[in-house]
Amino acid sequence: MEYILAHDVGTTGTKAVLVSPSGEVAATAYAPYPTSYPRPLWAEQDPADWWKAVGQTARAVLDRAQVPASAVMGLTFATQMLDIIALDAQRELLGTCISWLDCRAGEEARWVMGRLGGPSIFAALVGATITGKDMLPKYVWLKRHAPEVYARTKTFIDCTGYLMLRATGRLVFEWTTASVTGLFNLKSKSWDTGLMRFFGLERSKFPDLVGSTSQVGGLTAEAARELGLREGTPVIAGAGDGPCAAVGAGAVGEGEGHMCLGTSGIVGVMTRRKVTGKRGLATIQSTDAAKNLLIGEMETCGECLNWGARVLYGREADAAAFSLMDADVDATPPGAGGLLFAPWMYGERCPVSDERARAGFINLGANHSRREMTRAIYEGVAFNLRWILESVQSLYGFACPSLRVIGGGAKGRPWLRIIADVTGRQLEPTLQPQEAAAVGAALVGGVGLGLYPTIEATRNVIRPSQVVTPDSGQHEAYTQAYRAFQSLYPSLRGLFHTLNRGERTAA
C-alpha cells in the first residue's frame, strides 16, 4: 500500500496525515509550536519551528502506521495563509514570520485604500475593506518601518514557499496563497506588476508562481534526513488550508459548496466563473487552475460556543462540556424563547465586514435561562451562516442546496440540525471532518502525482458520514427570528463604532 504524506501547517501546530489514494487516513500525528507577541498588535512565528514540527510528525506518523519511507509516494502541504517571510540573498531568514494574526499595518491598510479612492470605493472594487492583518499593507509596513530589512530582502515568500524551500531547495510562491496577497492576477495567474509598481514594491522580490498540483521537485538529501523520508520523494506544492479544505470536503464541482465549522466559520463555493468579491465575500484561486474559490468567512463560529462554555458554564470548552450544552440545547424548543444572539465576538468579515462589530444577547427576558442563551448561541451562528449563504445566492446565483460540512462542528448533532433548519440547506458532514485540510492536500498531491486526472475527479473520494435534511416547517418557523437578526447589525453599527472607536483588532 502506498500513501501520500500531507501536513496541515496551522497556527497552533502542524498535523501530519498519511492518506491512501482512496482517501483513507492511516495515521495522524501532531506537534505544536508557539506564537510570540513581541508588541501589542504584533504576532510572529519562527518558520524553523514549523520545519522542526514537520520533521517530528513525519517520523511519528510513519511509525504509527508502521509504514516504511518507501511507501510514501509524495509529500505535500496545506498551510496557514496571509503570512510574510523575508529572505536575504543567501536565502536566510530576515527575522521571523509575520503571522496572519498580526495587525500592525492598520495605518498602511488605510493608506492603501486611500490610494484607491478610500475605504468605501475600495470595498466596492475589491469586495471588502482591508485591515492591518492583510498582506499588501504589511509589505508596505516593512518598507516604511524597517527599511533596512526591506532593502536586504531578496525574496518574499510565505509558509508554503518556506516549506518548499526547505524540502526542495527551490524558491516558489504557490497560486492559492499568492492570490490573497492582493498582488495576484486571478485571470492570468501571474503577479500584478502594475499594482506592485503603484504601491512601490519590486517585482524582483517575488519568486516564480507555481500551481497547487505542481511537482516542485524532489526531497533534498538534507530534507530527507530531517523528515525520515527518501531522497527524491516528489514534493507537490499543495495549497492554503482553505482551498485544501474545499477538496477535503469533496465539494469541488462547479457551484458546489462546503461549510467549515471551526473556530472561525467558512462558506466556500468552487466556480469556473470570474466572480468579484462583494459583502465581505472574497474570491481567491482554488487548487483547481480552472476554478476560483468564493469564500465567506465568519470570524467567530465554534469560538462562540467555546465562549459560552467558558463564561456561561464556567467550564473548559471540551467534549464533556459540549455534550452537556448539547443536552441543554435539545431540552430547549427552537427559537430559544425569542432570545437572539449576535455572534460577532471578534468583529465580522462576512456578510458584513466590520472589525468593530461585537456580540450580544438581545431580547433577554425573565422567562429565559442559561439553556435559552446556549440555544441562542447555536442559532445565532446559524443565522449568520444563513446570511452568508443568502448573500452567495443573491449575488452570484449559487443556491448550494446541499453543503459538505467539515471542521469540529460537523460532529455536533443538535447544532447541525439547527444549521440545516435555519439555512434550509441539506448538510453532509464528511467522515473525517477535522482532517479535511490535510486530506484535501493529499488529494491535491494525488493530482500532482497523476493518481487522479483533475481536482474535480477527486470529488467521489470523499464521502459524507450522514445527510441532515432541513425541516421546511422549522425553516419557516425560524424566519421571523432571522429577519430580526438581520436588522440587528444595521441598527447597532453606530453603537459598535462609538464604543470600539479606539480598538484595533488585537491579537
Binding site: 467567530t300 469560538e303 465562549w307 463564561v311 456561561l312 458554564y313 464556567g314 467550564r315 462540556a321 452537556l324 450544552m325 443536552a327 441543554d328 431540552a331 425569542g338 437572539l340 465576538m345 471578534y346 461585537r358 456580540a359 450580544g360 444577547f361 438581545i362 431580547n363 433577554l364 427576558g365 425573565a366 429565559h368 435561562s369 442559561r370 439553556r371 442563551m373 421571523q480 427570528a481 430580526a484 436588522s487 440587528l488 441598527s491 447597532l492 453606530g494 453603537l495 459598535f496 462609538t498 464604543l499 470600539n500
Partner: protein, 529 residues
Amino acid sequence: MSAQVDKYVLAIDLGTSSAKVALISMRGDVAGWECEPIGLTLLPNGGAEQDPLDWWNGIMVASKRLLGRRLIPAEAVVAVCASTQGGGTAPVDRDGNCLMNCMIWLDSRAAQVVRRHVGGGLDLGGYNALKLQKWVNLTGGAPSLSGKDRYGHMLWIKAECPDLYARTFKFLDVLDYVDLKLTGQFVTSADSAVGTWMTDNRDPRNVHYVAELAKLGGLEIEKLPAIRRSIDVLGPLRSEVAEELGLRKEVVVVTGAFDVPAAALGAGTVRDFEPHVYLGTSSWVGVHVPFKKTDVASAMASLPCAIPDKFLLMAAQEVAGGNLTFFRDNILFSRDAMLDQEAPRDYFAALNRVAESVPPGSRGVLYTPWLYGERAPVDDPWVRASFHNLSLGTTRADMVRALMEGVALNTRWVFEPAEKFAGRRLDPVSMVGGGAQSNLWCQVHADVLNRTVRQVKDLVYANARGAAFMAAVGLGLVRFEDISNLIKYQATYTPDPDRRALYDSMYREYLTIYKVTHKIHERLNRARN
C-alpha cells in the same frame, strides 16, 4: 438609643415577596424585625395574583415572632402602621371577605380591555384625546395602557366576571385590606386612592373621588373605600388582633401609605426637591415637589402622597436588583444539565467582589435591564434586556459589573427627566432598598448619575420606617420637618471626575440601544404573544 423610654410603632412593610414587620421608635431607630415570605401566582395570560389572607397570615406570624423576642416592653408599642405594595385590586364583600385573589401591580390581564375603554376617537398615544385631557387635568395622569393598575383591574373584573363585580362591596388596594384587618374599616389612603385614576388631585389636602372619571370606564365610585390621610389615626386596633399579639387595647392604627411615599419618608427626604432612589427587586426615583404637574412625554406626574400638603413625583422602574437574582437563578446556577453546585449563601457579597475586580465600563460590555419591559421613562411592555458588545475576552466578572452599571444607567434614564420635571438639579440623592447595601453599587450610581449619593443607615427598613414616621406624625409626637434630622447616613459617595467622560458616553450609547432596538423587540414579542 433610648429604647426603654421611647414609644414604638409596630411598622409593617408588605412587599411582593415578603411581609416584614419591624419595631421602630418615634425617632426612626429599628429595635428589631422579622420577615415572612409570601407566594405569588403568575398566570400565563399575564395574571399576577396573591391571596390577601397570605398577607395577613404573614404579617401576624412575623409580628408574633418579633414581639415574642421581647426586645422592648409590649406597653411601649403605641401604634400600628403599614406601608405596602401599591396598585393591587382585591374585591371584597360587606363582611370583608375576598371574592377572588388580589390582582397585584404586576397583573397585566387588562391590557386589551383598557385600550378599548380609554381609546377611540381622536387618538393621542392610544388614548382618546378628550378623555386623556380630563384625566390629566384632574388626576395628573391616566390609566396605564399596560393594564397594570387598579383602573385596569376593575375594568377587567367587570368585563370578565360581571357577577363578581356586581357582588363587590369595595375594591380594596393592598394597604386598604391590611387596614381593614387591623381596624374593621373600609378605608384607603389618599396616595393609594390616586391609583384608581378616579380622584381629583388638584388640592392634595382634599383628594376626592369624581364620579365622572369612574364613568369614563363604566365604573362606580361607590365601590371604592373612603379616603383618609396617611397620618390619620383610624382608631383602635381590633381587640382580637391586639389580644392575639399581646398588645394593649389602646394601641391605635394609623392609615399608612403605599411603598413609594413611605420610602420617601423613611429615606428622610421630606423637604421639597430632595430625591431618593429605592433599589430593590424593582426600583424608583421619588421626590417631593410643591406642585401638581404632568409630563406626558416621559410619563411622569407628581401626585398626592403621605405628606398631606405635598405632591410626590414618582417614577418606578420594572426590574433593578431583580437582575442580579435573575443572573444567579437563571444563568450562573441555572437548573440545567451542567448545574454542579448551588449558589453560595453570600452570593451578593461575592458578586460585589467580582464586580469590583473589573474597571469602570465593564471592559466595553453594556447591559440593559429590561427583563420584564419598562415602565419609566417609557411605558414599553415589549422591550427586553440585552447584553451588548461582548468580545472573546469578555468574562463573567465583566458581565456582572455590566449588570450593575446597566441598572445605574437605567436609573439615570429616569433621573434626568425627573430633574427636568422638578426644574432643578436634584443633588444629593439618598439611596435605600436592599440593593443600596452594596457600597460599589452606590458608588456606581454616584458616578453614573454624577450626583452625590447618601447611603441611608438601616436602608432595608426604609419603608417600615416611613410607616413609623407616619404614625409618629399622626400621634403628634414628631413633625414632618423633624424627620430630616432623625436620619443617619452610613456613607456618602461623590462622583469620580475621572469617570465622567466614560459614563457619559456609555449613557449616550444606552439611549441609542433603546432607540435602535425597541422596534425589533416589539416585533419579536408582539408576534410571540
